[in-house]
């Protein structure tokens, strides 16, 4: 199967990959990844966060290695490596994973809103309006999706400044001594931290939409490094601000730190933060659902417009079915596990298979 042909007018500049990668990573995870990461690694959690981030740079490198050879997307890659049926099946799993990511993001965000802002928010109505917004963006094609992810990074970027407030109250001695945890604990920390980095595997789907994709490699790495920087910063601030026991009881540590921000005209900053976060969530949903719809369109003859509406309805229904805190946690855990496997096992596996197949074909 050949790679998809995308007309030049629908392609976006390679520099936007920076925003596409960054915006899909920073989602609901950053609101509360600290607890999971610090559970095992304690005050060394920031090292785990940094290590997890840097290890993913290698994975992005692998993705680009694979895709530059393939010159297509994940669907054509699967087809070429595993044949029509097995390849198609694997593609379906990937599509399901992308859509599951969308469900997780939407449901978790609605939960945050319900807990922090509107306890009686009707998740059906809000979900419908938000997904209508997503549909409106998607109907503009990938160009608009990339634009939304651009604004989804630039506009809420001021929120990074709010990390200054906890610094006034932080105890940076809590970070000492460095490296006082075992390798095993650190690894658990890395595992916990890597979950919040996931999502960039959508690269597999949208690379054909980038002009001169080989040039976008450094932008992808750059976007990821920005995420690593922000996460490490947030982690250090959190470790300084909370005591270890307190952190273990705080589900959304980032939101809690916002509570202390105070300016002459505004206090209780988390309201503004959570509201602004809608702009961060939107590209997340757009990219994942776009990737899902694009995958189905590539697998079958159904047009992406016709397939997007059922996907959105499915996302709405299934995300609303998760009603209790535990089930949302479970949803998060499972998507993370699949994502973890996808990134650290499946991508290197694809790389090896492609390498071997290339050798065999070259020899034969």
């Amino acid at each position: 199967m050949a790679g998809p042909e995308v007309k030049d007018q629908y392609k976006v500049s390679p520099f936007l990959v920076f925003y596409l990668v960054h915006s899909v990573q920073v989602g609901v995870g950053v609101m509360g990844f600290q607890r999971i990461s610090a559970e095992h690694a304690g005050n060394d959690a920031w090292i785990s966060v940094l290590a997890a981030g840097l290890s993913l740079n290698v994975i992005i490198f692998l993705i680009y290695k694979i895709m530059m050879k393939e010159k297509g997307d994940l669907i054509s890659l699967h087809q070429n490596l595993f044949g029509k049926w097995l390849g198609g099946f694997l593609s379906l799993i990937a599509i399901a994973y992308f859509i599951a990511m969308g469900i997780t993001v939407l449901r978790t965000y609605i939960e945050v809103v319900q807990v922090w802002m509107f306890p009686d928010l009707n998740k059906w109505i809000f979900g419908t309006v938000f997904l209508l917004l997503v549909y409106y963006c998607l109907s503009g094609g990938f160009r608009v999706v990339a634009g939304i992810s651009f604004f989804g990074v630039v506009l809420p970027f001021y929120l990074v400044l709010t990390m200054i407030f906890p610094l006034f109250y932080g105890h940076f001695r809590d970070l000492l001594p460095f490296f006082n945890h075992s390798i095993k604990e650190m690894y658990e920390g890395v595992k916990g931290a890597s979950l919040s980095y996931l999502g960039f595997t959508t690269l597999f789907m949208y690379l054909p939409f980038i002009k001169e994709p080989e040039k976008s490699h450094r932008w992808a790495q750059g976007g990821h490094l920005l995420t690593v920087f922000i996460y490490t910063l947030v982690m250090i601030t959190t470790l300084a601000f909370f005591s270890p026991e307190q952190l273990q009881k705080t589900i959304w540590a980032t939101l809690t730190t916002w509570k202390i921000a105070e300016m002459p005209f505004v206090q209780r900053f988390e309201y503004i933060g959570i509201a602004s976060w809608a702009l961060v969530i939107l590209p997340n949903l757009c990219i994942t659902i776009w990737a899902g719809g694009r995958g189905i369109r590539r697998l079958s003859r159904i047009s992406q417009r016709n397939v997007t509406i059922p996907i959105l309805v499915f996302v709405l229904i299934s995300s609303s079915l998760f009603a209790r805190r535990e089930s949302i946690d479970l949803l998060n855990e499972y998507t993370s596990k699949v994502g973890f496997f996808f990134v650290y096992v499946y991508v290197p596996f694809l790389f090896v298979v492609q390498y071997i197949k290339g050798k065999v074909d070259g020899a034969g």
Binding site: V12, M117, L133, Y136, C137, G140, P264, A275
Partner: protein
């Protein structure tokens, strides 16, 4: 009814239904201002027909008729040779004859049954004198504005751009009005694709009347279902000249004192032409104030509603005291209070726009002050909100393009509803809708949000901040100009030291 009229129109007006010239002339004689007389000389005679309301009669008597009677006319071919006016046509094409006579040509026939005739141009050119710009007035800079006559407008542009590259593509639009429309562009600078898009869209227009360029604008715009204007209209010939030099395309239409400019971007709607007349620091700060004013105008009332409906906790204690005491006696929820005030401001504006100027001012002052004070005293609205609404109305008027300020005021209402629904979260959701909408918009096929998205650093030189003219030496990328360099700046070597 409409069908009947159409049929009647077809029967009586369309020259293809008339068989020959005599029949056409008989048809034209139905109108009272259609004059015809016969000039009888010794050995030759000719017939002359024209609309007296379209023809410059002094010119006809002084510069045309004497030449026709000085020697006997043998054939029609003699007429172009004798009459010292360019543009004399000899034709037997009924459609052309009809078109020309309706544009102020004089028909000359040698005998009453002839199939062909000579057409001599002698239009009366009545036009308002060139006056000061009213909508886009600037304190410094040219005081000329376009008028309703296409020729005058073309003159105003041509005298500012005396180069042969300035091309004017002419066409007529409108089945009944036959409005002359001109597409202006600089050959070799404007992108050919842009020019062709405009030409194509103008040619595809199928309507009966074009009374103003604003109608044209709605017909050739990219997304007709968007409240945002995607072409700029201006009444300043100097602005037209300046955008032509940038590589844009301009559309002038007869009978309209507004020129259309495209392709354009969102930030251009917030740049006044005066920005180029003042120092770049002053101009840039004015632009920043304007952009702040727009955001303020759209967001501040919704944020007020959102905060007071849902998020009291956001406001620090001291400030909350002021707010609460001003709202103490108000029986209405914030949303009704806000909508009441916003609507009354809209009412005042609409009334002011419809009334004659002098009455309008009185209404504005009396209505504004009296209604405002009375509604606060009656306890219908809080004075804090009154201040906010008045300020945001004021802020919306800072947009240099009138059309955009209408849009901005309209945008506020969905924001208000969303704010009432979900507080600040609703405001963000509505804002996302706005961004998505703007992302989808195009102006003549070029992205509307450029240079913000797609981000083009080079074009930022004249967007939110206007950098010094020295840096404006390249044409904007989004115009895809065929000649990207405007000029090469002379770099003077300065002594890299303090003055001694």
């Amino acid at each position: 009814m409409v069908k009947n009229m159409l049929r009647w129109l077809k029967k009586s007006r369309s020259p293809d239904k008339l068989k020959n010239l005599p029949e056409l002339i008989r048809n034209l004689k139905d109108s009272g201002d259609f004059l015809h007389h016969e000039s009888k000389q010794k050995d030759s005679s000719f017939f002359i027909y024209y609309f007296k309301t379209l023809v410059h009669e002094t010119e006809l008597n002084d510069h045309i008729l004497p030449y026709l009677v000085e020697k006997p006319l043998k054939t029609l071919q003699d007429i172009p040779e004798r009459v010292p006016i360019p543009g004399v046509i000899i034709s037997d094409d009924l459609k052309e004859i009809c078109e020309k006579v309706m544009r102020g040509y004089v028909i000359i026939r040698l005998n009453a049954n002839a199939k062909d005739c000579a057409l001599i141009p002698s239009q009366v050119k009545k036009a308002r004198a060139v006056t000061q710009p009213e909508v886009e007035f600037t304190v410094v800079g040219s005081k000329e504005a376009f008028v309703e006559s296409l020729d005058t407008n073309m003159h105003l542009v041509r005298k500012r751009l005396p180069v042969h590259e300035l091309k004017a593509y002419e066409l007529t639009v409108g089945k009944l009005t036959n409005t002359k429309v001109v597409v202006l562009y600089l050959d070799g600078i404007a992108n050919e694709e842009n020019v062709n898009t405009v030409k194509q869209r103008l040619e595809d227009i199928k309507v009966d009347q074009i009374v103003d360029s604003s109608v044209l604008m709605q017909l050739i715009t990219d997304n007709r279902n968007s409240p945002f204007p995607q072409l700029i209209d201006t009444e300043r010939p100097d602005r037209v000249t300046s955008v032509l030099c940038e590589g844009k395309v301009v559309v002038l239409s007869d009978g309209s004192p507004q020129a259309l400019i495209g392709p354009t971007t969102l930030v251009e709607f917030f740049s006044a032409f005066e920005d180029y007349f003042v120092n770049w620091i002053v101009a840039s700060s004015a632009r920043l104030i304007r952009i702040f004013a727009i955001l303020f105008s759209i967001l501040v009332t919704p944020v007020y509603v959102a905060t007071l409906t849902y998020h009291y906790e956001l406001i620090p204690k001291d400030l909350l005291g002021t707010l609460v005491s001003s709202r103490q006696r108000i029986p209405l929820p914030p949303i009704l209070e806000a909508i009441f005030l916003e609507l009354s401001i809209e009412l005042l504006r609409e009334a002011g726009a419809r009334l004659p100027t002098k009455v309008g001012q009185t209404i504005g002052i009396v209505g504004g002050i009296v209604i405002g004070t009375a509604s606060v005293e009656a306890g219908l609205t809080s004075n804090v909100l009154l201040i906010i609404v008045a300020l945001s109305a004021l802020a919306s008027f800072t947009t240099p393009v009138y059309r955009m300020s209408n849009t901005i005021r309209l945008t506020r209402f969905p924001f208000l509803l969303f704010a009432h629904l979900w507080g600040l979260l609703g405001v963000t959701v509505c804002f996302s809708f706005l961004i998505a909408h703007l992302l989808k918009l195009k102006s003549l096929g070029r992205p509307f949000l450029e240079p913000l998205y797609p981000l083009r650093v080079q074009d930022l030189k004249d967007a939110i901040i206007r950098f010094p003219l020295k840096f404006q030496n390249k044409r904007p990328i989004h115009l895809q100009s065929e000649d990207t360099v405007r000029f090469t700046p002379v770099t003077e070597k300065e002594k890299n030291d303090f003055h001694e």
